[in-house]
Amino acid sequence: MGQNLRLLLMEDDSKAAALLSNRFRAEGAAVEHAANGAAGLEAARQGVFDVLVVDRMMPQMSGTEVVETLRGEGDTTPVLFLSALGEVDDRVAGFAAGGDDYLTKPYAFAELQARVTALARRNETAQVTQLQLADLQLDLLTREARRGDTKLDLNKREFDLLAYLLSHQGQIVTRDMLLQNVWNYGLDTQTNVVDVHISRLRGKLDKGFEPALLHTKRGQGFVLQADI
């Protein structure tokens, strides 16, 4: 996460807000916290932020009202809604109010971090076509993967999986994030379907190569990085 990422967190649950602020600060972001909608609206008007993280249900002024007001005033700062309500119509209401992303509680911090980063980078138009980590290289146009001089024989899904992990290198990627972004389904699974795909990818990616790149973080997900 960029050193200079400025974040405004509107969340009425002060304990949750404190935990969240600490995690973001530990990752190098500057976090301001507002404990209710009215304070949040005021803070958003006063300060300059890269991303607003807004709880939908807050006293005095709901998250959707705050964002509607800000959008009405011409503020285009990216907004990510946090909500305990995850139904489709709740999400639609969030987007209709002017939100750019919607995350249902409870969420893995890794997912929130990935989405906030994506929103902050939204305006960077540079199209990435090459991804790289240590001796691993991915060409998104020719869909070729190499470790050093060796071409990796990946099928379409394995390539997409690796591309997603690589574009989030160094960050923890949860199983839900992979299902949502690689398979495009928000699914609840009871089995380790994703782990099986990861272990196959690891077999092609790390077997016979040094250093190992794809690691499992127990209880959290997976991370692609050279040193651990």
């Binding site: 649950d13 304990k15 949750a16 935990l19 969240l20 600490n22 995690r23 530990a26 249900m57 305990a84 309500l85 995850g86 139904e87 489709v88 119509d89 249902t104 509680k105 409870p106 969420y107 893995a108 911090f109 899904r157 398979w183 495009n184 389904y185 928000g186 699914l187 609840d188 699974t189 009871q190 089995t191 380790n192 379907v193 099986v196 795909h197 196959r200 973080k217 127990r218 209880g219 959290q220």
Partner: protein, 445 residues
């Protein structure tokens, strides 16, 4: 006509018409009987009077006088209303306007003869005047018979007219009733589609319909309140449980990041397991209560199945099983792709958990059947006894409780609720061996 006959209103009208027809036929029958009786009496009296007069003439003036009188009557009777024939004991003609003895059609029990003369019906009587004289006195009764025939015709026409009016009126009333019921059905359609704010408006119609509409409206209002309450409760529950779980998860994640303690990773996995059960239960109760409205889009079934096959084939492979895919050109289905995918995931994970027999094949398939689109997952495991199929779809039921399975017992009930949400049904079948779970989804949903 067959559909008309199924209508209660038409049947009632029909029964009422039949009763009225019966009563009317009875009245008309009695009337006709009396009419016949009095007509006959008038005709017979006329004949008796003529016979009495001629008999008197015979007594006073003898055979000659009688013959003369008969000829006089014949001469006067230009309309030939009377028929007379005087004959001797052997039947030879003496006088009258019937040269030959007529061919008698019927003879009544009380001695009346009926025959036809010159195309007209004639009623007559034979009188034995003395040993050698027989007098036939008859009367043309065409006028009376014509009158009776006219009455008969009128009565039959009246009955037919009444039958037609009864049928027509019944059909009209029944159709009107049907229209009302159809109007109510049409007005309630939005309710079926989830809009509980719909109300019936039958202000211009009969009191009984208004009463019914009022009842239905009261019921809808109650349903709307209940549904709102259910939604509120489930929203509150979601919020009140998710907020602390979010904190708990964040805390554990933070600690894990700081310390790297392995026990914390286990605790995180437990929290996620808890969340999955909670989400499944919440989704199920929302689907069941009808709070969730169907988020219908065109679903590419072939692509959906291919995606699920792609996702699950490796894990089946790791369990030494094979996941087959059998899907011909599938049409697009109107439905919620995410829910349908979740239903297939639950069925596939059931097959992994309960039918993990090495070397067996699990088939993911789709085909059209009788207006339904059928998505199925068929395994080669132990299956479920047919008498347990119903129970298997109930909530929190795990059939093989002896085995320690990690599932919540909500899997199949969630699949059933998703099918119902699409206007379809989950059907379990014996795959001999194994279980075949079919999602029957109406193509036009």
């Amino acid at each position: 006509m067959r559909t008309l006959l199924r209508l209660a209103g038409f049947r009632a009208a029909l029964a009422y018409t039949a009763l009225l027809l019966l009563a009317m036929a009875l009245v008309l029958g009695l009337l006709y009987g009396r009419l016949v009786e009095s007509t006959r009496m008038a005709q017979d009296n006329l004949i008796w009077r003529e016979a009495a007069a001629l008999s008197l003439t015979h007594q006073r003036d003898g055979v000659r006088g009688l013959a003369q009188a008969i000829d006089t009557v014949g001469a006067q009777d230009s309309y030939r209303a009377s028929y007379l024939r005087l004959s001797d004991g052997l039947g030879s003609f003496i006088a009258g306007n019937l040269k030959e003895f007529p061919k008698v059609n019927t003879t009544d029990a009380d001695g009346w003869l009926n025959f036809t003369e010159g195309g007209a019906p004639v009623r007559a009587r034979l009188l034995q005047l003395d040993n050698n004289l027989v007098l036939l006195v008859g009367q043309d009764i065409a006028d009376g018979e014509n009158l009776l025939a006219a009455f008969r015709q009128a009565f039959v026409l009246a009955l037919i007219a009444m039958l037609l009016v009864g049928l027509g009126g019944g059909a009209f009333l029944a159709r009107r009733g049907l229209k009302q019921v159809e109007a109510i059905g049409a007005a309630l359609k939005p309710v079926m589609e989830g809009d509980l704010s719909t109300r019936l408006n039958l202000r211009r119609d009969g009191a009984e319909w208004q009463a019914l509409a009022a009842q239905i409206n009261a019921m809808l209002a109650q349903l709307e309140t209940l549904m709102g309450a259910t939604r509120q409760v489930s929203d509150n529950l979601a919020h009140d449980l998710r907020a602390p779980l979010t904190r708990l998860r964040a805390r554990l994640e933070g600690l894990l990041a700081d310390t790297g303690e392995a026990a914390l990773a286990g605790a995180l996995e437990d929290v996620d397991g808890l969340l999955k059960s909670f989400n499944a239960l919440l989704a199920l109760s929302r689907l069941d209560s009808g709070v969730t409205t169907l988020n219908a889009e065109a679903v590419d079934v072939a692509a959906l199945l291919a995606d699920m096959h792609d996702l699950f084939a490796p894990i089946f492979d790791d369990n030494d099983m094979t996941l087959g895919l059998a899907c011909a050109d599938a049409p697009r289905l109107s439905g919620d792709a995410a829910l349908l995918a979740q239903a297939l995931v639950n069925l596939l994970e059931n097959a992994l958990a309960h039918a993990a027999i090495k070397g067996s094949i699990v088939t993911l398939a789709a085909h059209e059947d009788n207006g339904c689109f059928v998505l199925s997952v068929a395994d080669g495991g132990a299956g479920i006894a047919p008498d347990q199929h119903e129970r298997a779809m109930a909530r929190f039921v795990q059939l093989d409780e002896s085995r320690s399975q990690s599932g919540s017992g909500l899997g199949l009930s969630l699949v059933a609720a998703i099918c119902a949400h699409h206007g379809g049904a989950l059907v379990l079948r014996d795959n001999a061996p194994g279980l075949k779970a079919e999602l029957h989804l109406p193509i036009k949903s």
